[in-house]
Symmetry: none
Subunit: 277 residues, 2 copies
């Protein structure tokens, strides 16, 4: 489950290593992760020069000259690894891209991922990326003002809001746990009950949680372009079921919130709302 920090790191590394390089060949081992037949996909990528690599939310975006973008999503988990000339490849991967300098990029995911090639003129109709919100940390436009605007008149629970990629791109069920804890909010807290102070606090929680994770290079159990782990491993409450809350010592609980699991301190986050999931 790579989220914003992991994808950010990968895209930065890819930009450093691959900008200016030209694709020599492409091998597709799982056609259904594409948005077109493998043949067309290979034809589009082959001999294209990479202009740059960046990210939007949980998507890696690779600009191919002159007018295509390659969107990569690792779905619920996976990796993108750059292999030096002669270095062994992983046992399993879905996509392999060879460069003229002999280096090889492999893209693998263990459940569902996508590799979509989209022309500039079709960007608007690429459903999965056309309507993404801004990416915190990465895009300066994600300001407190912007955030308050997003919340205006919005209903539903704060957790569903944070996970909705159309509002904010890049938060998944991992980082959302600590964001909510930092803001001392129950995941089921209704947006309409948030005070201005709550909203500012939530904004800072997002920026701090993601900012720190980006600085640390993402999660310790996710790998970067060089197959090295990140440095973020000390969750506040996320995935710490049964362990003490770092703030008050109460036991962290795992609860079901709609379709997803949530980890909360029932003391610090539990008093807010009469919402029973």
């Amino acid at each position: 489950m790579p989220e914003l920090p992991e994808i950010y790191r990968l895209s930065e590394q890819m930009n450093n290593e691959l900008a200016g390089k030209t694709i020599k060949g492409v091998q597709v081992l799982q056609e259904k992760c594409l948005n077109m037949p493998a043949e067309s996909f290979i034809k589009i990528l082959s001999n294209k020069r990479i202009e740059n690599a960046t990210s939007r939310g949980k998507w890696i975006v690779i600009k191919l000259e002159p007018d295509y973008r390659l969107f990569l999503s690792l779905g619920m988990g996976g990796n993108v690894i750059l292999h030096e000339n002669g270095q062994a490849l992983p046992d399993k991967y879905q996509l392999r891209i060879d460069f003229h300098d002999g280096r090889i990029l492999t893209v693998g995911f263990w459940w569902f991922g996508y590799a979509h090639a989209v022309s500039e003129k079709d960007l608007g109709s690429h459903k999965m990326t056309a309507k993404l919100g801004l990416t915190p940390i990465r895009e300066a436009g994600f300001s407190l003002e912007h955030f308050l605007g997003l919340l205006k008149g919005r209903k539903g629970s704060v957790k569903n809001f944070l996970l909705n990629q159309g509002y904010i791109a890049g938060i998944g069920n991992v980082y959302v746990q600590d964001i909510l804890f930092r803001a001392r909010m129950h995941p089921g807290r209704k947006l309409q009950t948030l005070t201005d102070e709550d909203k500012s606090l939530l904004y800072s929680s997002i920026m701090e949680t993601l900012g720190e994770a980006v600085k640390l290079g993402g999660l310790a159990y996710e790998k970067d372009l060089y197959d090295r782990p990140g440095g973020f491993k000390d969750f506040l409450v996320g995935y710490r079921e049964g362990q003490p809350c770092p703030e008050c010592g109460a036991t962290v609980e795992k609860i079901k919130t709609g379709g997803t699991a949530s980890y909360i301190c029932p003391n610090c986050q539990g008093t807010e709302d009469p919402v029973d999931y």
Copy 2:
């Protein structure tokens, strides 16, 4: 997504089979589809004699003697099946009603459905059924005059009007497609732009589309009380994206109209209004 024709057929079959029968026992497998605790629900239904079964819009209405009604809604899809003595039951269902003659009724839905028991004196406060409009075909009161009265002074799009159960009960996102095509109207067409002729045409389209579907026993992919499919499968434009319009041969398009999808012939229905969804 059973709509008027499917629900009509089911209620007729239930009336034929179950009127006069007495409920022996009730099993609730999903309490949240009820409007009360399972215990109360079971107590109300048990040993009640069924007076008759009928339908209103998308609701099956079962009258229990002396003063209760059981309302069933199948939500986005489901089935009501009557099992003869000893016949195997489905793998999954939410509600099971046993009769003294050994037959068993199972009610199952794959998303959200309701089984609400309401006393005669509380009918007015049962929000989901209290303010339903008339049911075309089933209720003779749904005349051209009545229909014109409904439209008087009303604003908004013709599709939203047709789907509003408070005006007309029983039309959903399936049948509305062909009703609009038959009337040669774009779903976003504003009611205020309709001429008298348009309104009559729309009325006939409703009566013809639903009338034919009722005659054919509803949709071919929905099952009746005996687990048999209906005979309606030849949509004019509904769910025929990419196929030729039966009238002019133009390619049927799938478009977003507010929250729902619409299937239209851009040639036959597209010229009417400058409404862009």
